[in-house]
């Protein structure tokens, strides 16, 4: 299995397509960081319009931590599409290229190949996420400095002390890795069902868009299925940035408001990963390699 993973990783990182995602993320982040560096204050004052009516906010609101949060909000919707570019190509791309028969006639079972390929794709996804974290968090911290995280949610504001922020990002990135691995697994499943790359890539992207729409629409009919859709849970990394308050409305440092929600989302996402990969293994084992 190790040989398969090494084999697949070598191929992934020698392929020019792999770096599209890294380049796209870097470009997006740098553009947003540049925009916020130049005109971030007006963006912040727009967000803080309601607050400024009542309160004076003193301190560096537009610091690296808030920039990272803004970037993650924007990018974690789009990164799954970039992940699909690679994951959905892992099996079908080889079938299209004709190399799948070369791989499947080596002394490894198809299950080993599928799992090895999935692990390699997962490593790629996590490296992409680390790249995202480096640019969005550490570069933002370097460019914008750090301070408390002043987070403006839809209905309330959370002020998290500076020393209480970094571990939340670690948690958020770990959670995001589960979200992206679910996309990887979905792309993989699609990939196992086709003999060309375009179908599974477009199929995965369409599935993400379709289920995201279902997850975000507040229509009672869809409410029944929402808890079971992976897209409903993918954005719950944000829960790491909500905090408990005591009876005196005083935020409790180091707390998470709804840890059960995070656990539930991780469970649902993990279940999806297992289901998608198992189906991919089953389909690949059963299919005749005719390409």
């Amino acid at each position: 299995m190790k040989s398969i993973i090494a084999f697949e990783l070598y191929k992934i990182f020698r392929r020019p397509r792999t770096y599209i995602a890294f380049g796209a993320i870097a470009a997006l982040i740098v553009v947003i960081q540049f925009g916020l560096k130049i005109d971030g204050e007006s963006y912040a004052s727009f967000l803080m319009k309601d607050i400024n009516d009542t309160l004076t906010v003193d301190g560096k609101v537009l610091n690296g931590y808030l920039i990272c949060y803004i970037l993650l909000q924007l990018l974690l919707v789009h990164v799954p599409l970039l992940v699909a570019l690679i994951a959905a190509d892992m099996i079908s791309g080889e079938a299209n290229l004709g190399t799948l028969r070369l791989l499947f006639s080596t002394p490894f079972t198809r299950t080993e190949w599928v799992l090895g390929k999935f692990i390699a794709a997962s490593i790629y996804t996590i490296v992409l996420l680390i790249w995202l974290a480096f640019l969005a968090l550490f570069v933002s911290m370097w460019v914008f400095g750090t301070d408390d995280l002043f987070l403006m949610k839809s209905n309330y504001v959370v002020l998290i002390q500076e020393k209480d922020v970094l571990w939340r990002y670690v948690g958020a990135f770990v959670f995001a890795s589960f979200s992206l691995l679910t996309v990887t697994a979905l792309g993989f499943l699609m990939s196992s069902m086709a003999n060309n790359s375009i179908g599974p890539i477009v199929g995965t992207m369409s599935a993400i868009v379709f289920f995201t729409i279902l997850s975000t629409l507040n229509i009672p009919l869809f409410s029944m299925i929402k808890p079971y859709l992976f897209t409903t849970h993918m954005n719950n990394w944000k829960e790491f940035f909500d905090i408990k308050v005591n009876d005196g409305n005083e935020a409790i440092a180091g707390s998470i408001l709804n840890i059960a929600k995070i656990k539930n989302s991780l469970f649902v996402l993990s279940a999806h990963i297992i289901l998608f990969v198992s189906l991919a293994v089953y389909i690949t084992k059963k299919k005749d390699i005719l390409s």
Binding site: D50, T54, Q73, S154, V157, L159, N218, N235, V245
Partner: protein, 227 residues
């Protein structure tokens, strides 16, 4: 003619009252005059229905006549807009007001004298301020101030070791808050609303900022650059 005489009488009387400054205020002012400047360390708690914030360490700087700055140590601070500068020192040190006696009231078991301040200077931000003063200690326990632009504030003070300078050990600012709402399209928070957030919105619209002072460093000099 009769009406004119009555009006002239009331006008003269009222001017007579406003022109006077209550001796108790003088007494309080004298006490406060002992303090040219101070730096105080304290702990600040912000309690606003739509804000989740933890306790923060603050430093409060004051310099005569009315310079005041609250600085949170290494963090973001949320203070009632304009209200925090309306402490008893900054109110009384302007000397540009008249007083109207308002009788006495029992607050928390203490009989306090009520005095209203009306500014004589149009440039001042406040319109009227009511002070609840302990006549024996010459300490102000409560103020209620209406400002021109930033609504009304209520400040409750408690005293401890620095009572001889008229400096409180704890100050609670109460103020009215407005609604807070950001569109989901901006926050990218889609899906079902958190019931906890809804519950928060049902709370009253009063906010408080509470500063508990640990110690004061008085009359050691503060550069103006701090403010």
């Amino acid at each position: 003619m009769k009406k004119i005489i009555v009006f002239a009488f009331f006008f003269c009387c009222s001017n007579l009252v406003i022109a006077q400054v209550d001796p108790l205020i003088e007494k309080v002012s004298k006490k406060l005059a002992l303090v040219n400047d101070y730096v105080a360390e304290g702990v600040m708690k912000t309690d606003v229905s739509f804000i989740k914030a933890s306790l923060g360490k603050v430093k409060v700087y004051f310099k005569k006549p009315n310079l005041l700055k609250v600085k949170k140590e290494g963090g973001i601070s949320l203070l009632p807009k304009g209200g925090v500068s309306l402490t008893i020192n900054t109110l009384l040190n302007t000397k540009k007001y008249s007083t109207i006696p308002g009788g006495s009231q029992v607050v928390n078991g203490k009989t306090l004298t009520v005095i209203k301040l009306i500014p004589n200077d149009d440039n001042l931000d406040w319109v009227i301020s009511t002070l609840w003063i302990d006549p024996v200690e010459a300490l102000v326990y409560k103020t209620a101030t209406t400002t021109k632009e930033n609504g009304s504030y209520e400040i409750i003070m408690q005293y401890g070791a620095y009572a001889q300078y008229g400096l409180a050990s704890k100050i609670i600012f109460s103020f009215n808050t407005k609604d807070y709402k950001l569109p989901n399209g901006i926050t990218l928070e889609f899906g079902d609303e958190d019931p906890a957030a809804k519950k928060n919105l049902l709370k009253n619209k009063k906010g408080t900022v509470e500063i508990t002072y640990k110690n004061y460093i008085i009359n050691k000099g503060i550069p103006n650059t701090i403010f």
